[in-house]
Subunit: 282 residues, 2 copies
């Protein structure tokens, strides 16, 4: 048992927190901590299990931790976190949601990088959203972030569907206000070049399909935010579509977070994250 | 790079915190985390660097963390921590200081186990304080905990000296109120069978001796709370005295904390802690 192998943490360790409810399922502690170790950085990503009503006290307490370098915010706290930071990036202000807080000289800046991760993953695999006709199913937290990111990426048409029609219409109006071609639509995927599932439908094996797979164009790209391959992804692949699952979206979020963490000089690129994630059994 | 070697932490990891200022020097994160790993427990001991004025907000925030199983409290927060728990053990109430908080069903119970660790270390090495004449130099936080522990252990005489005479007299009166034979005294070690340095004097190589070493009885036991061998310890050893440094006191605190953490079935005994501490280079 060498010192190298056993010294997991010491008094000088800096902390990247992740706050959520539930928390046991999050992959960030493993992936980030393995990336820190790869770079011989004395940092750990630590889970904090916090219930929604406790969020104000948690944030006030987390602000007292001088060795906290940042905070990842996950479900269900992303919208509420907007209220507990000192500043928002432009995209976090648009999305009205925070999934990452950078801490610098006591100033907490909220950002949202999951939409960025989604688009970054497509582009890394040669799929450029610009000019494409896109259908987005799901106007919740992740869907909202993806909608703004696809709008910014310049899709030719952004059709948004949600079982909650008001929510979908509101999101379309908000994204449209940025100059993007966004509109409310039905869940019919026919005629779209990019089809995105941003609902939780498909997390459980018994879930129905969020859209009718038989209506997906055979040349379409189908991307699901769910980490495991869903029935939708399988059905789309069977039709010959190119498909994406949620892992790449996660892996493309580390690099945009690493800069504000002061780790921009290190390699947090998605290919390295992906390699490390495979090694730790993600 | 095997999964075993790289998986430092995941979403299910439970946290034993340690809060202090400064924090970089604390050994608890390394030692506790190595002990957790030895037992294949998915726990980590994580440092939280918190300034004194921030303690109320820190405690309120820490209470929201459902995966926090306990909190070690170190300098300078031990006396203040008394005010942020729901209950105190008898010894914490006497000492009016908390160095460990056990969390059980949302109830926070403050305890102080450093005096217990001090006496436990002596006893583990065959030195029974009962019936001994003891001189304690230093009536600060650690000195106070040791004074009550020596009183409870049944020393025949507990002479307490501090450069702050009022502080020493107050401590003697408080320990005396428990029925122990405690009194204010000069720092002259002549005639004492147990001599304890509980001051920080000796942490720096250029520090003077806290007492006159030439006056220590050659058969006395000399114990220092400082972790590295001090000039006092070296001088006492040169006189033929049996000596103790602060590491053993620390190692004997893990077992009394492990029970309230719900880890009583595991081996947190001082010999195992000592072996693990040596392996990680303590």
């Amino acid at each position: 048992m060498s010192s190298e192998a056993t010294k997991l943490v010491d008094g000088s360790t800096r902390i990247l927190g992740i706050v959520g409810h539930p928390i046991a399922q999050v992959r960030a502690p493993e992936v980030w901590s393995a990336m820190f170790r790869l770079h011989r950085l004395n940092y750990l990503c630590i889970p904090f299990h916090v219930l929604p009503g406790d969020l104000p006290a948690f944030f006030a307490g987390a602000r007292t931790m001088r060795n906290l370098c940042g905070l990842i915010v996950t479900i269900p706290h992303k919208p509420a976190a907007v209220g507990y930071v000192d500043a928002l990036t432009d995209r976090a202000r648009l999305v009205q949601s925070v999934n990452f807080v950078a801490v610098s000289d006591g100033k907490w800046t909220g950002d949202i990088v999951d939409g960025l991760g989604f688009v970054g993953n497509l582009r890394a695999h040669g799929v450029e959203p610009r000019g494409r006709r896109a259908l987005l199913v799901g106007a919740g937290g992740v869907g909202t972030a993806i909608a703004f990111a696809l709008g910014e990426a310049g899709v030719a048409d952004l059709a948004i569907y949600d079982t909650d029609e008001v929510r979908a219409r509101n999101l379309a109006a908000r994204v449209g206000a940025t100059g993007a071609a966004a509109r409310f639509a039905s869940p019919d995927p026919a005629g779209f070049e990019l089809v995105v599932n941003a609902t939780p439908v498909g997390m459980r094996p018994e879930d129905p399909l969020p859209i009718e797979a038989a209506r997906i164009d055979r040349g379409a790209v189908v991307a699901d935010v769910i980490v495991k391959p869903t029935r939708l992804v399988e059905a789309a692949a069977a039709r010959g579509c190119r498909t994406f699952i949620g892992t790449g979206m996660m892996e493309h979020q580390l690099e945009p977070m690493a800069g504000p963490l002061g780790l921009g000089a290190f390699d947090f690129s998605a290919p390295t994250v992906s390699r490390v994630a495979r090694q730790i059994g993600s």
